[in-house]
Structure formats: C-alpha cells, structure tokens
Symmetry: C2
Subunit: 284 residues, 2 copies
Amino acid sequence: MKIGFIGLGVMGRPMANHLIAAGHELFLHRVKDVSQHLVDAGGKALESAKAVAETSEIIILMLPDTPDVEAVLFGEEGVASGLSEKKLVIDMSSISPVATKNFAQRIGKLGASYVDAPVSGGEVGAKAGSLTIMVGASETDFERALPLFQLMGQNITRIGDVGDGQTAKVVNQVIVGLTIEAVAEGLSLAKAAGADPAKVREALMGGFASSRILEVHGERMIKETFDPGFRIRLHRKDIGLAMEAAKALELYLPHSASLQQLMNKALADGLGDKDHSALIKALS
Amino acid sequence: MKIGFIGLGVMGRPMANHLIAAGHELFLHRVKDVSQHLVDAGGKALESAKAVAETSEIIILMLPDTPDVEAVLFGEEGVASGLSEKKLVIDMSSISPVATKNFAQRIGKLGASYVDAPVSGGEVGAKAGSLTIMVGASETDFERALPLFQLMGQNITRIGDVGDGQTAKVVNQVIVGLTIEAVAEGLSLAKAAGADPAKVREALMGGFASSRILEVHGERMIKETFDPGFRIRLHRKDIGLAMEAAKALELYLPHSASLQQLMNKALADGLGDKDHSALIKALS
C-alpha cells in the first residue's frame, strides 16, 4: 500500500521501518541524514507534506506536539491541501484531545477520514514493534488502519471515536506521573524515618501498593539511576495537555496541577533531561 | 506457649483464633460478647492488661491508634506494670513510628523486648491467615516472634529495627492512597472528555500505568461500588501518621498533605464510611 509517513524522529524512524519491511511503499517528507536508511530501504523522499498526501492512500503523522501536527496538516503545502476523498490521516503523535477533534472535523470536510492513535512503549517498543496503541476512530476507519498498527504494536485498543485515543494517552501519562510521585513520597518517607527503602519496597510489592512504577521506577529511585527512560521534560508536556483539558472541561485535578509544578521545579533544578523517576529529587 | 492478646476487634479476633487453633494458651483482656467464642475455644479472660502481662511470655497488641497502645502499655494496671525480664511485647496495631520508638525504649528499660509488626490485608487476610506483616525488631526478637507471625500471615518481612515496621506500613498507606488518587484523576479526566473509562482502564492495564489499584479500585470507581473494603475514615488516620512523621522529620510530602485534605472533604461529603476508592467522588 502507498503510505505517507511524516515525522521521522526517534519514534517515527523505527515505526516507518516496520512498514517498509512489511512491503509497503513509503512516501516521506523532511528526510534528514539520520533517516537516510529509510530511503536506502526503498522509501521515497518528497518535497512537501502536500505531495505526500497526494501520493499516498494513508498518511501517518508522528510529530512532537499539537502545533507541529497543526502546521503539517493545515500549513502551506500541508497535508490538507493534498488530500482527496477516501484518504485516511492517522495521527500517532501525542497531542491535545481537544485540538484532535477540531483537526478531524476539518479533515472530514475534505471528504477524508481521521484517526488518532497515540502510542506508549517508547523507543524500545517502537524498535521491537511492541507499542501500545490507543485508538480513537470510527469502527470502519479502525479496521482499515489495524493491519498497519499490527506492524508497529501489540496491545492495540479502539477506545472509542476520534479524540478518545488522545484522551487515553493523556490519562495514561497522568496516572504514570502521579504514581511516580506517590512512590517518590513513600520512599522519601521511608528513608527519612531511617528504614531501608529497598526493604520497604520489597515488603510492599505483594500488596495493594504494588505497581509497575513501584517495581521499575521505585528501583531507579533507590539506586539513583536516572538515565532516561522517559524525560521529565517530555512528561511535563503531557501533563500540560491534561491541564489544558481540565481547563476546557472545567475539571478539578488537584494532584495533576501540583505535579506540573513539581515538574517545573525539577526543570529548574536541572533535571529536565533525567528519567521521570528523578522526580524524587524534586522533593528533597 | 502462654500468649497475651489485647485488642479483640475485627482484626484481632481472627488473629487470636489462629493462635488458639495452633494450640497456644491465650490470655485475653476486655472480652466482649463478640469475642466470647475465643473463651469457649480455651482462651482465658483476665481482669487487667497487667494480669495478662504477668501471665504471658509474649504479649500481642492489636489496637486502633497510638493513644490506645500507650494507654494499654503504660496506663493504670497496664502491660508495663506486669512485665518482667525476657518478656516480649509485639504491637501489631498501625500506629505512629515515632511513638513506637519511644514505647520500645520505655519497655526496654524494664528488661523486656518490643517488636512492631503492623499488618495489611484487612479482615479477609486476618481470617485467612494471609496477612502481610511488616516487622521492626532485632534479629533475635524477630526469630522469636516469627512462628507466631506464620500462624497469622504469609508475606512476613523484617524491614529493620524497632519502628521500621510502622514506617513501612505508613509508606504503604501513602502509596496506596496516592495511587487511588492518581487513578481517580485519570478516570475522571477520561469520563469528562467523553471517553469510556472502562475502555481506557483496559487499554492501560498492560503498560506502566498498571497497578493493583487500577485493577481493583479502578473497577470499583467505574462501577461505583463503594462498600468497604477499607474506609476513607481509617485511611485518613494513616495519612495523619505520615503527616506527623513529615512534621517530625522536616520532610516535604506535598501530595500526601493534599490527600489528607481531599479525605477531609470526602468526610465532609459524608463518604467517611465508604471504601477509599470513593475518593473519586471528592473530585466531582
């Protein structure tokens, strides 16, 4: 199938590679040296997002943030200007659920379809083709996109209609961030009270306090191994999306709001490019 | 062995029962109608905590809060007045780690030993003999108490010296409470944004957001089944212990402090005797 892929970053490169390896014809934009191997493998570099949209049946985006997606879709020589009926845009970036619904409406008016499908699993999951993919789409569009998702991920769920994929991703980031903060406060208390945090973590692993975060990030906190992983700076962006949604929806999320401030403090302390488990250092 | 057991509440009764069933001679105090079956099974009711301490080699306490333990230990006709050398006091209540160290010192001056061994697992775990037991004790005292712990629990860890058991329990309650709050904010956001919280929970269960709380309490939040379980009122007591420790240790625990206020709000909203998963209602 002719597939457009825009956004060849740390995540996008291995994802595009899986599609090429499966025999798809890929049309790329903004190919830099670091993504030249995709062209060597058969991908075709085009001069604009518009050209990618004109040439491809399905156009996949994997971009850093909401304004990047908006610019690639609706900017000059953007995807929208090259779309025609029955084409499908799949945004796999992690961006605003509110903006996503707006983008989908505008794409829909051109006769094309829109799916949001943010992922979790990081660079490791992207390379292994084992990403978790949270999808917002009509049932028809989901079925159409599913064979491509299966080349990139393993745990693929249609949450609901357009926007719901982005909502699920934001919820994931809220729960992950707040659970890290929970473990950080617990282990800080253990240490300050003179108990061995490693022993406490071990004793708690079997009960209701147990979580993937206590297991993985709890160990990072105890050993103080803060190489990313997932950077506090990037996680702060996602909590920002939660705060934006909370404002739009008039929703009370006191701990998410406080978490955003703790992340600001972590950045002020020079921890922005450390793993998010380093949030424990923002408490001390 | 001659064992004293003081505190025959919802937890204490089944715990004492396991000791009698294993053939130990139990000496009880404050036996009410609801604990009469322990006397029928061979337990002996005595008129004071002092008499229990005089008669028993090991004295176990399972009481509601710090002041109760202090009164039973050091009040008139209390345990301390009946202790002699080589006796062992085991406090299985969940109380202040700071006060625990003080109590242990005072008991130690009488030539007796002190172990703190709070539990988690609730009434279900107490009845099944499957409690998690977090122990603060010298190695010698731990070895001496272990056969009794094995009659009441399964996951038994010596965290460290006296007080460390209580610290681990408080840390457990902090992490559990804050993880409940994390899941509550996440699922509230999902619902407000129009995504199906059940679908979101399902999609998140495989990844870093996964926890026992997302699994068990997340489902309670979605189905709005808030029968305890563990009451918000009791959990608030434990977060109060964390706040007391934070004050004594000059420790910054912003989310625990905020959780305490959310629990106050839940009580103001009449939710004090609901399961702690009902904290999600304090957000709306």
